[in-house]
């Protein structure tokens, strides 16, 4: 929109990746005079807000400077040799595919820091918390900004340690096993992924994603592609998570602190699907062609499985944890994303990228809301919350109830909100998959996926009914539950409103996102030729 010189753009992107790291180191040092605030804890939490805020500002500046007429072109690129021995280059750049995810990450990180500033995490010193949050942010942003396979792997791994500690130190019940499950599961996946990446790099002689994407798999034999896609696919599928490999997710989400859950669902899962779009689709199309039907089958299995698990959790007497429920719903939503990718059509992949961003916004909001609910009630257990008559949030805290209902409705894919377009486009893509894929099979997948949307609607409406509706007990002395609970506080409103606004915006004006992603996707699928 505004012409910003290329060198400034380069600096902005490099700053977005490195800035949080510097901030993390600074967070460990004592605060300089003048920035001490009311105490060391407050000072360091404020430091977190400042740094993430600066990164968000840089990301917005990047959007403004981004040449929206050429979203398929890599922009703000930096390409420096780092380790000549391994042919690893510090190659950064953004295009229409990575830009939305970059901004989403910066936004969610900032909101998380802001939320923690007003509501410090319960656990050991916030100093380490802020430092870990910033390292996490750096790793997430780097994943979307790097264009080198080995660097991508490095960024992919960088988020593990901070997330482990966030869950293990600031988490809720059973946090240790959950944190272990998270890190061992994803590490096993990413080691397998590394083998696939190395296979590609060694066979084709370069680790550069742009060069490999332009090559479109021409330099790789079909068998290499099949093995590489299998290996990389397993690593990414664990992260996404794809249905049979998802079992770390519910535990990690249930145990993680609110901020951890928001980033886990909002960004970390996207790293898996982004990898599919950025690496697997353009670099090894033949291998992807082989596995696409299986991927789609697992994806729809995930959609149905996730929804059924949520239905079971939402049932009365099932003692379902709300955070766990949303985690399972993520499995379902990411199923749509994977289905879209598996179609290998521009429609499907655009839908997948759209659903990615939408899921980040909506599920981020849902986790914030459930976190707030848990703070107020001391539990996220649906049965304890709702009792027999319902939690009656509309009556006791109308704004909170309204927001929860809004997020639930957005999550089930109501037209006009962000959740709708991605799922619809993914199903559209499955209706007419890429030539060479088995169309009848994909039609079946589409039908099952469509059925999954129904199930999704069912459990989310049950949740809304049990949590938001019901008669508020006038003077409920017997159950001991507070009759009135504090409604949405100002800082909560400030943190959540950007997510609400963007959900509505993306729902009403999907061209904002699709205009960015479509040209880039067209180019990726066409093998580097736009």
């Amino acid at each position: 929109m505004i012409d910003i010189s290329e060198s400034v753009m380069q600096f902005l992107l490099a700053f977005i990746v490195v800035g949080p790291l510097i901030g993390a180191v600074a967070a460990l040092l004592p605060a300089p005079p003048g920035l001490r605030g009311t105490g060391p804890d407050q000072a360091v939490l404020r430091h977190g807000v400042t740094v993430t805020g600066a990164i968000l500002a840089a990301a917005i500046a990047l959007v403004i400077g981004f040449d929206h007429d050429q979203p398929s072109k890599m922009q703000a690129t930096t390409d420096i040799s780092w380790i000549p021995a391994l042919d690893v280059r510090i190659h950064l750049g953004v295009d229409g595919i990575s830009l939305p995810l970059l901004v989403l990450t910066a936004l969610l990180s900032f909101l998380c820091a802001l939320y923690s500033y007003f509501k410090p995490p319960t656990g050991p010193s916030p100093k380490a918390f802020v430092a870990l949050l910033l390292v996490l942010e750096s790793g997430m942003l780097a994943t979307f900004a790097v264009l080198d396979l080995v660097l991508f792997f490095l960024a992919f791994e960088m988020v593990l340690i901070p997330m482990y500690f966030l869950i293990a130190r600031w988490g809720g019940e059973a946090r240790q096993p959950a944190a272990w499950k998270f890190i061992l599961y994803t590490l096993l996946g990413s080691v397998v992924m590394l083998l696939g990446l190395l296979l590609i790099g060694l066979q084709s002689g370069t680790f550069d994603m742009v060069a490999l994407a332009t090559d479109n798999g021409r330099g790789l034999t079909a068998s290499t592609q099949v093995i590489a896609v299998l290996a990389i696919g397993i690593g990414l599928a664990v992260k996404t998570p794809m249905w049979p490999l998802h079992s770390w997710l519910p535990d990690a989400h249930t145990a993680a602190p609110t901020v951890g859950s928001v980033l886990l669902a909002g960004v970390l899962l996207k790293m898996g699907t982004y990898g599919f779009v950025r690496i697997v689709l353009p670099i090894a199309p033949e291998g992807m062609q082989t596995f696409a039907p299986y991927l789609a089958a697992f994806a729809v299995a995930g959609i149905v499985y996730g929804s059924l698990a949520c239905l079971a959790l939402a049932k009365q007497g099932a003692a379902g944890d709300l955070k766990r429920l949303i985690a399972y719903s993520s499995v379902g939503h990411m199923g749509f994303v994977l289905l879209g990718i598996a179609t290998m059509t521009p429609t499907g992949v655009n839908g997948a990228l759209f659903a990615n961003v939408a899921h980040g916004l909506i599920t981020g909001l849902l986790f914030f809301l459930v976190g707030a609910l848990k703070d107020r009630y001391g539990t996220a257990d649906l049965d304890t919350l709702a009792g027999a008559a319902g939690a009656a949030l509309y009556g006791r805290a109308p704004r909170l109830g309204g927001l929860l209902a809004f997020a639930a409705v957005a999550s089930l894919g109501l037209p006009g909100l962000a959740g709708f377009w991605g799922e619809m486009l993914a199903l559209f893509g499955a209706f007419d998959p890429a030539p060479g894929l088995n169309r009848p099979a994909f039609l079946v997948f589409m039908v099952i996926g469509g059925f999954g949307t129904l199930l999704t609607a069912a459990y989310l409406l049950i949740v809304v009914r049990r949590v938001c509706m019901g008669t508020p007990p006038p003077e409920d002395r017997r159950s001991g539950a507070p009759a009135a609970i504090p409604d949405v506080r100002t800082y909560e409103l400030v943190t959540w409103s950007p997510l609400v606004a963007l959900t509505v915006l993306a729902g009403l004006w999907p061209a904002v996102l699709l205009g960015l992603t479509d040209p880039a996707v067209q180019k990726l699928l066409a093998g580097g030729k736009s």
Partner: protein
């Protein structure tokens, strides 16, 4: 006995010259060597000039060791500390003496008849391993300065340490089997004495005996193998063996194969590869801590560099024999090491050292992977081994340095003693966390990650997919115990958390009071930690420094 071996090493020149004579006598045309000084005396070039600069690194180390042994007799009891500084200075000089050798391959002790067959070669491989050995010895010396003041006898200690280092530095440069075996023994024999040095400690003498007996058996087997190889090829020079092994007559084929296999065993033992690894944990626990650190790095360097020399240079024609064998050995070694490390309970005495001991067995497995890959994809893969070993040396010595610090306040050295280290010594805790994550190969230990990536890539390059997958699973297993230890560092000292529940009520109080009272850390140990941490961070920012070995041919 040790002195005898020492003198054997010193008279090695003689042995090489003798062999030159026999080889010369065998060949019909005795060409006067280009470097011969003895032409004037009328002999067929029995005396030759020695490239003193090339052999300076091991020689300086050996000479300084001898000087310290003699000086010990004259230095008064109060001034014994000076000996330690002498050793540090000597090792520093030896490291500096590597600098002029950079860039070109220098050879010496060549056959006068065939100047391509040399006993000593200072090429890129030799220099990088010498840097590893001498640097490791320097760090070991820094770690042991304070111990020689009170518990360990200074003169003997420094002499033995430097002798062993000299042998280890000679080994990567030696290019004939006799020198190789002599170097191996010069490196090993002082090590037995060093392990048993804690006077009046039963554990110490027991572990020394265990180490000695198993090592001597392995050496005997190697010698048998060497004699078989010599019998079939008629030469001890590695390059000539390689040439002659190709046309061994059919009858001797089996003998040659047996010889190759037996020769490898001794070096596999030194690397502590499975099934020759049982001595490791007991020996590490019984030895003084700096010696455990020394064995974990220099002992392994001796083993794998010997293995590299015999496999890649002497037996390339038999790659189909040793390639699969080393691949299987590597897989077994990493799996066994990790499985045992996983089982260390946090509250057992010496569990920290035991964990490092077993993890070093596992790391030896990773180091072996590129050697196995070299059987399939050529000698260039060895660079990955060197790069990985350099990373491992820095990081593992750093971890041992921190263990030394903690063992001063809690002599039982359990993993649970590390609880809350972050609250008493934040910087030490951070560096140990960094070292452990480097060993695990996860960011922020970027150099550890990339070293593993090169090893993986050598396996993938050689088509050893199954080995890469086994290694991948092992990396995940190893992460579990490394990260568990890291997590213990940052746990609040008081609260009982699930991570270290086994710290238990019985010992918890002791650990807290142990960590609570700060004992001053000796300056030398602090220097060692700072040095390793600085190198680790530098390498993480600029991995090319060690990874460049992975991309070039070293021989």
């Amino acid at each position: 006995m040790i002195t005898a071996i020492r003198s054997a090493a010193e008279t090695m020149n003689g042995a090489a010259a003798q062999e030159a004579a026999t080889d010369g006598a065998l060949s019909p045309a005795v060409a006067p060597g280009a470097v011969s000084l003895a032409d004037a005396s009328g002999g067929a070039g029995l005396v030759q000039s020695v490239d003193w600069l090339a052999i300076a690194p091991p020689t300086i180390t050996a000479v300084v060791g001898l000087i310290l042994l003699v000086a010990d007799l004259f230095v008064p009891e109060k001034r014994k500390g000076l000996l330690g500084y002498g050793a540090v200075a000597g090792l520093t000089v030896a490291i500096i003496s590597l600098v002029p050798l950079l860039g070109e391959d220098r050879t010496t002790f060549c056959l006068t008849t065939d100047t391509t067959a040399c006993s000593y070669t200072a090429d890129a491989f030799a220099l990088s391993i010498q840097l590893l050995v001498l640097g490791g010895a320097l760090l070991t010396a820094l770690l042991s300065l304070h111990r020689t003041r009170d518990e360990l006898p200074a003169g003997e200690y420094w002499f033995l340490l430097l002798s062993s280092t000299a042998g280890a530095a000679l080994l990567p440069a030696s290019r004939d089997l006799a020198t190789l075996i002599v170097a191996l023994e010069v490196a090993s024999l002082p090590a037995f004495a060093l392990v048993g040095m804690r006077r009046g400690d039963r554990l110490s003498s027991e572990s020394a005996l265990k180490f000695f007996l198993s090592s001597v058996t392995a050496t005997a087997v190697t010698l048998l193998g060497v004699s078989f190889v010599y019998a079939t090829t008629g030469s001890l020079h590695l390059t000539r063996i390689a040439a002659n092994l190709g046309d061994v007559s059919g009858q001797l084929e089996t003998l040659a194969r047996t010889g190759v296999a037996l020769t490898l065993i001794g070096f596999a033992f030194k690397t502590a590869a499975v099934p020759f690894h049982f001595w490791v944990p007991d020996t590490y626990v019984g030895a003084p801590l700096p010696i455990a650190a020394f064995l974990s790095v220099i002992g392994k360097a001796v083993g794998f560099s010997g293995l590299v020399l015999v496999t890649v240079i002497a037996f390339p024609g038999y790659a189909d024999v040793w390639g699969p064998a080393i691949a299987v050995l590597a897989a077994l070694t990493m799996t066994a090491g990790n499985a045992a490390a996983l089982r260390q309970s946090a509250s057992r005495d010496w569990s920290a050292v035991r964990l490092l001991a077993w993890s070093s067995v596992a790391q030896a497995g990773y180091i072996l992977v590129p050697i196995a890959a070299a059987a399939y994809a050529g000698a260039d893969q060895i660079g990955s081994t060197v790069a990985y070993a350099l990373m491992y040396a820095v990081v593992n010595l750093g971890a041992f340095a921190v263990v030394t610090v903690v063992s001063r306040t809690s002599p039982r050295n359990r993993l649970s003693d590390y609880r809350g280290l972050w609250y008493t010594r934040p910087l030490t805790a951070l560096t140990l966390g960094f070292f452990l994550l480097c060993l695990a190969g996860l960011p922020p230990g970027i150099i550890g990650l990339f070293a593993k990536v090169t090893v993986f890539s050598s396996a993938v390059d050689a088509g050893l997919g199954w080995l890469a997958v086994v290694m991948g699973v092992n990396v995940v297993i190893a992460l579990y115990y490394y990260l568990k230890w890291t997590a213990i560092l940052f746990q609040a000292p008081g609260t009982a958390d699930a991570g270290a529940e086994s710290a238990g009520a019985e010992s918890g109080g002791v650990a807290v009071s142990g960590a609570g009272t700060l004992v001053r850390t000796p300056v030398a140990v602090t220097t060692a930690i700072a040095l390793t941490a600085a190198v680790g961070v530098l390498l993480s920012g600029y991995p090319q420094l060690v990874l460049r070995f992975a991309a070039t041919s070293l021989f």
